[in-house]
């Protein structure tokens, strides 16, 4: 053993701990989704102004929602599993918001505009009872789609059976049009309460 030993070991320990702390955001997250949730919570994330077409064929922009909080999820209408649960959750939240007269809107965005034309979106809206407050929409062009997926950090991978696997998160956008929370699926009443609180901060 030489004098160099404590120096080298100290160096290695500090570098190792620093790298581990960096990769886990200070020992708080181990997944990329967790890291993203934490990042958005600390620093609201601006969103691109993307053109979308809804289930009635009408065009609108994401920025049209400014002034009111917005809950967003990502879907594709052929989705057999996850989206149907999310559809029921969104319907329940819409009812709760109606009853409480809560100022909040709902938007389900399809990441599969190739298959999801207005007709498909309308069928989806009918299936889950999407009323005025809740729109089902798809971006009008490919750059808009990729800008949306990138800024919401939605990763879509093929499921090997013609469908897709995608993030199941619910995104809270505040009245200034910034992404302020990424929420894991939970009871609709809790999601709604968390969203209203986060958007009002």
């Amino acid at each position: 053993m030489t004098r160099g030993f404590p120096i080298l070991l100290g160096l290695v320990l500090s570098i190792g701990m620093a790298a581990l702390a960096f990769e886990t955001d200070g020992f708080r997250v181990v997944t990329s989704a967790g890291a993203r949730q934490l990042a958005v919570e600390r620093q609201p994330h601006p969103l691109p102004d993307v053109r979308l077409r809804d289930q009635n064929g009408s065009l609108f922009s994401l920025s049209d929602y400014r002034g009111k909080p917005l809950l967003v999820d990502f879907i594709y209408t052929r989705c057999p599993t996850l989206c149907s649960e999310r559809g029921d959750d969104f319907h329940r939240m819409m009812e709760l918001a109606n009853n409480a007269d809560a100022q909040i809107d709902f938007l389900s965005i399809s990441f599969d505009p190739e298959n999801d034309d207005s007709e498909a979106l309308r069928l989806y809206a009918d299936r889950y009872g999407a009323a005025p407050r809740w729109r089902i929409a798809a971006p009008t062009d490919a750059p808009g789609l990729s800008a949306l997926l990138q800024s919401f950090d939605v990763v879509v991978i093929p499921d090997g059976m013609g469908g897709y696997i995608h993030n199941s998160a619910i995104y809270v956008v505040d009245a200034r049009g910034r992404l302020v929370r990424i929420l894991d699926p939970d009871a609709p009443v809790r999601i709604l309460a968390t969203a209203m609180q986060a958007a009002s901060q």
Binding site: M1, T2, G4, F5, I7, L8, L9, L11, V12, L13, I15, G16, M17, A19, L20, E23, T24, V29, V30, T31, S32, A33, G34, A35, V155, I157, D159, G160, I165, N167, S168
Partner: protein
Amino acid sequence: MNARTIAISAAASWLILSLPPLRLALEREMAVQMAVQMPLLIAVGVLLAGWVRRYEPHWLDDADWLGISGIVLVVFGTSIWMLPRALDEAVGEPLVDLAKFLSLPLLVGLPLGLSWRRMPPLGRAFIWANFIPKLGAIGGLYLAAPTRLCAYYRLDQQNLAGWTLIAIAVALGLTSFFAAFVGWTPSCGKHLPPVAATGAGSESTLHAAPHILA
């Protein structure tokens, strides 16, 4: 092998592994990234150690007393690259993948190759006895998670990765059990590390660990 052959084959393997078609093919399955690509990248570093050792300054040989500092670096490196976030971002973010391709050979494989020979037999046994359960535990965590931990991998791929890590842990555990209690060593080389190996100083100890560390 002479020094130059070692250096060239290490560089060539590193280059081949980083070629986009092979890189993407190995990263398509979570289990393959963890149990094939990462160990191969570590092996490149271990191979490189065979060349670097010839030019290793005396002070480093002194300062890396009993190989402790080197093996601590290895433990940190392997732990970080077992996290779901690291696996995920290696697929989704080119810069993180670059970090993986640099850090696994240079900060894990190379120190492993250099320090392993300096470690006493009991120290090596300690590292094995730590690494094997950790591998099994991480595999168990991947299996137990009800949701996907990586955005880029499906749940069935995550399960396969979990079972693969557990299978490797069981294989390593059985091997080291027999090595420790029966004195049997794998036929591919008497000096291979699992626990009972005491071949310190032998060239072949170097080629031992890479295929197992993930």
